[in-house]
């Protein structure tokens, strides 16, 4: 083994493996499976992302078979951890119903809980979210709660038994990146459960900045699916998430609004 290999395998391993509710995952990057131009493009992108957790939605089977929507024809549940979402639910009762249906599929008892409060912004209804979290936790679900960047809601979700809290970087599908890094850092500092930023990441630098806040992971869908080249963007995101995590662990230099020379001031030639 070369010197460089020894350094990367020993010194630079993450001191804190990524785990949720006692289950360890191999990647801090989680990806969605929606909006790809084709299933083959989706699989290529997911493979390139290195993600283990992939989200799926619960919908009615199209009985007319106008399109092949069934995701499990394409995703091997042995290879990926399927995380069902409750996307499109606008109240706690609907979200609970979707979560129960998803669990009955028989893969796991985990749910990415979304209770949406507004059609235009898709911002969460945090009151319905808390209510649904309590019910589902009591039923044995591992709830990963999609929320906004409000600290108090995040704390309440943790109190309600959420396995992870998922604040947004910016609205779903917006690609606006991390709008409030201060709030995300505050949530991370105050919560004990994992904090996974979900939604809003648009490109690799957004993912990197997100991970630099010290959060445990990041979940994205549209940034990959709507990239001109999803597989290449997936590779970029994988590297960016890793870079951001390493930068966070490394601890950045302080920002100063003055220049400080990098080369010695002493030993300069005098004329």
């Amino acid at each position: 083994m070369s010197h460089a290999d020894l350094i990367s395998s020993a010194t630079l391993t993450d001191p804190q493996p990524f785990s949720i509710a006692g289950r360890e995952f191999r990647s801090r990057l989680m990806v969605g499976t929606g909006k790809y131009a084709s299933n083959s493009q989706m699989i290529e992108a997911i493979e390139a992302s290195g993600a283990e957790v992939v989200t799926v939605a619960v919908r009615r089977v199209d009985l007319d078979r106008s399109k092949d929507e069934a995701i499990l024809h394409h995703l091997d549940p042995e290879h990926y951890f399927l995380l069902a979402n409750t996307a499109g639910c606008f109240n706690a009762a609907d979200a609970i119903r979707y979560a129960r249906l998803a669990r009955a599929a028989g893969f796991n008892e985990w749910v990415k809980l979304e209770v949406i409060g507004d059609q235009q912004t898709l911002l969460p209804d945090t009151i319905g979210l808390l209510e649904a979290t309590k019910t589902l936790v009591a039923e044995g679900f591992k709830v990963l709660a999609y929320t906004n960047e409000d600290l108090i809601t995040a704390l309440r979700l943790e109190d309600a038994g959420a396995a992870a809290v998922m604040p947004l970087a910016s609205p779903i599908g917006s690609g606006l990146g991390m709008l409030n890094p201060y709030a995300i850092r505050t949530i991370k500092q105050r919560l004990s459960v994992p904090v996974i930023v979900d939604a809003g990441v648009g490109t690799a630098s957004d993912a990197c900045v997100t991970m630099e806040q010290g959060v445990d992971g990041v979940l994205m869908n549209t940034a990959l699916a709507e990239a001109r080249h999803p597989m290449r963007m997936a590779r970029a995101m994988r590297l960016a998430v890793e870079a951001g995590r390493q930068a966070y662990l490394a601890g950045r230099m302080p920002k100063r609004e003055i220049a400080v020379p990098s080369s010695p001031e002493s030993g300069k030639l005098r004329g």
Partner: protein, 82 residues
């Protein structure tokens, strides 16, 4: 009464109406859930079914579960999502 109208009640009595994924369907009376799935070319292992608001967890029971007129079924599966 015309000949056609005498035939209609006989045909109706052997059929029943139920709602599947929000749309009314007529199926032969006495069909089991497994019969319905077979007619829709659906594999029970790849779907989750809710009957009148209750999730049916025991897939083995589908072959014995006789559907009733007026049943409301939701047949769902996993699709792409974020």
């Amino acid at each position: 009464m015309t000949q056609a109208s005498t035939l209609v009640p006989a045909a109706v009595s052997s059929e029943m109406a139920l709602t599947v994924n929000g749309t009314e369907r007529r199926i032969p009376a006495g069909w089991t859930l497994a019969d319905l799935l077979a007619s829709l070319s659906l594999d029970a292992r790849t779907v989750v079914i809710e009957r009148n608001g209750t999730i049916l967890r025991d897939r083995v029971s589908f072959a014995k579960l006789e559907l009733e007129a007026g049943d409301s079924l939701e047949i769902v599966h996993f699709v792409g999502g974020g």
